[in-house]
Symmetry: C2
Subunit: 396 residues, 2 copies
């Protein structure tokens, strides 16, 4: 029997996936599981996006253009213009989710054994794409006590080698909820220019910010055009994760033409999803205002309820809809599994994401979990209550 590849064997598994069988088992036994572990929002997809697909008149479901139609990309450029990001249709490639944009970006700028520096904790699937592309992730540690702010630039400098090709950030961050300031982006701009690196920013949570400064994109920073690559997606923005439409955006023409070659191999992004995504671009600002108000209330409720629990530390997230919590335990993987197997309050329990899977440095994050606040406030409050009771029982 032929063996599978070393690459395949070393592909990381999501920290949540290991828990899924335990959650399924809990449900089989009749327990209710409140999911704090997933980033699937409960927010309704804008009706105009759903309607565009329902009212489509296709008779032959043809390939679209590899990079998405000119018209669609022009509308996307219009969206960016509203966010003070000045790009044209030719700076944009439509991808199959932000996932594919990230895979294209990595393949476009890095060869086998090249290195990309990423502040940790970071979105676990960055590891997966890096492994698939043969790229080495070099983590730089950001800390809960700083709310996971940008690590000191000296820490980046120490890690840069001849093999370093890029710094990758997620802004606002999954799993940290941290929103980088303009000053932090400027510090990153200086270092990538100094060392001739790319700066890749995953900005899929651009709209989800909860402070006065708001989001500052790497493409708003002047002089960074040749270095900046934005990874973007409609998934969270319009609560349409299942569409699988994202964007790779860069003013660097060689990056775009190279990424396009990877795009050509897979022919085109999905057609129906592009119909939905194009329509979604007309979503009125009031939709985002409502969504943002809802998430802000959820965040405030979550943080204030969590802070009532003794012995835990909570990062104060300013963006996205995630929050890292440090618990007075030593092994969050074990705790998360125990919650699903053995702990119930009125036959209910919670599922959380152990944070160790978001770190590349072994041993880090073992006492942390990630909570996604994508649930209504009543459920969220009950979930935190269950978590508090569970901690008492687990420690005691």
């Amino acid at each position: 029997m032929p063996s599978v590849s070393r690459k395949g064997l070393s592909m990381p598994q999501s920290p949540i996936r290991k828990l899924v069988p335990f959650a399924e088992n809990a449900k089989k036994k009749g327990a209710k599981v409140i999911h704090l572990n997933i980033g699937q929002p409960d927010i309704k997809t804008p009706q105009l996006a759903l309607d565009a697909v329902k009212n489509n008149n296709l008779t032959v479901l043809e390939y679209s253009r590899t990079e998405g139609s000119e018209g669609f990309r022009e509308k996307v450029a219009g969206y960016y213009e509203k966010h003070q990001i000045h790009v044209t249709a030719s700076d944009i490639i439509v991808t199959t989710g932000g996932s594919e944009a990230l895979a294209f970006a990595m393949s476009t700028i890095a060869d086998n054994d090249d290195e990309i520096i990423i502040p940790e904790p970071f979105y676990a699937n960055y590891n997966g794409f890096a492994t698939a592309c043969g790229v080495k992730v070099v983590p730089v540690i950001s800390k809960l006590e700083d709310n996971f702010a940008l690590p000191p630039i000296e820490d980046f400098e120490k890690l840069i080698t001849a093999k370093t090709r890029a710094i990758l950030i997620c802004n606002p961050g999954n799993p940290t909820g941290y929103l980088y300031s303009k000053e932090e982006i400027q510090k990153l701009a200086v270092i990538v220019k100094k060392h001739d690196l790319y700066l890749i920013a995953d900005e899929v949570y651009r709209e989800f910010t909860y402070n006065e400064e708001g989001h500052y994109s790497i493409l708003q920073e002047e002089g960074l055009d040749e270095h900046a690559i934005i990874i973007d997606s409609v998934s969270k923005r319009y609560s349409m994760c299942g569409a699988r439409i994202g964007f790779l955006v860069s003013k660097n023409k060689e990056v775009i033409s190279t990424a396009l070659k990877f795009g050509q191999a897979r022919l085109s992004p999905p057609t129906y999803a592009q119909i939905a995504a194009e329509a979604a671009l007309d979503t009125p600002q009031s939709y985002f205002d409502d969504v943002k108000t809802e998430y802000l209330q959820r965040r405030n409720l979550l943080i204030s309820e969590l802070e009532k629990i003794e012995g835990i530390e909570v990062a104060k997230p300013q963006g996205a809809f995630y929050c890292i919590v440090e618990l007075p335990i030593t092994d969050a993987d074990d705790f998360a599994q125990w919650l699903l197997e053995d702990f119930r309050v009125d036959n209910e329990t919670v599922m959380v994401a152990p944070a160790s899977g978001f770190y590349a440095t072994p041993g880090l994050g073992k006492n942390q979990i990630r909570i996604a606040y994508v649930l209504d406030q009543t459920s969220l409050k009950r979930a935190v209550h269950i978590l508090g009771e569970a901690l008492k029982s687990y420690i005691g």
Copy 2:
């Protein structure tokens, strides 16, 4: 300015894409271009697939399961059962097009610098995925005078090294139209078992066969379960190329679990497309009968018209909807460009795919073109007439 990757620089471009600007220019000048170059069928997508999407009742467009829903995969298994391929839902991963299934297969079985043997000429994008995965394509030559039948097994044996991981075939073939016989599949089975290799078969044109024997799948061959990986897609089968739904199918459990890890990184295949594809599985046999009759007529017309042209050699395709033609010229790339730039019959010209891009061995196929017979018979007949006139003028 940071450079792009060596991998990116070496990504091959489709042989057709280089001609696109010339075709666009011809159209701008008012000429009509008959496209013999593309595999986008003009056949209508089954109405029940289109209707399933139009009648969907989603309110939140959520992620689907990474591998596709249990129900969908069970229906897909039922489809295979009808084709004497005995698999279950757990042997199937739903992918974003056959393209992604191929990328997953390559990553699952091969590491950087590993080798995959492919009979040439072959589907040009195999090169793209191989480059993206760091895998080396080792071509074995099949010949027009044999209708591109399986090369002698000794030719494969000579190419097998310690780095060889798989043999990849396309059956029926794009660009050759060749349909492998049961005996040929059995010869391949012997060699992959002998050398402990995988046998990957791209069977996306399974239904499009024009001889009495019909299609023999690698998963119909007994004793090949641990070696066989099928790449499949709904794109051509139901004329829904824009859906982007494919399948990776294998009875080898380690292949499936490893491929699934690559799938997890990209979260899920597109949701709307899965609704369309699941509905398409109920397409009645009469649809295929009609489609097959139509393609058979087109093929027969194409071959008989081509054979009237002096000095050309035509492979007799038994499957898919492609045909390789050898022309009495030395440089088909130049000829194809000249057709678009300089040649007109009643202000019409044709666009063909130069075949050199389907070969990995430098210099091969320089005098060949690929014709896709995905047009109605009237257009097809006119296109061949134009091609004949063009040859007279080009040679003269």
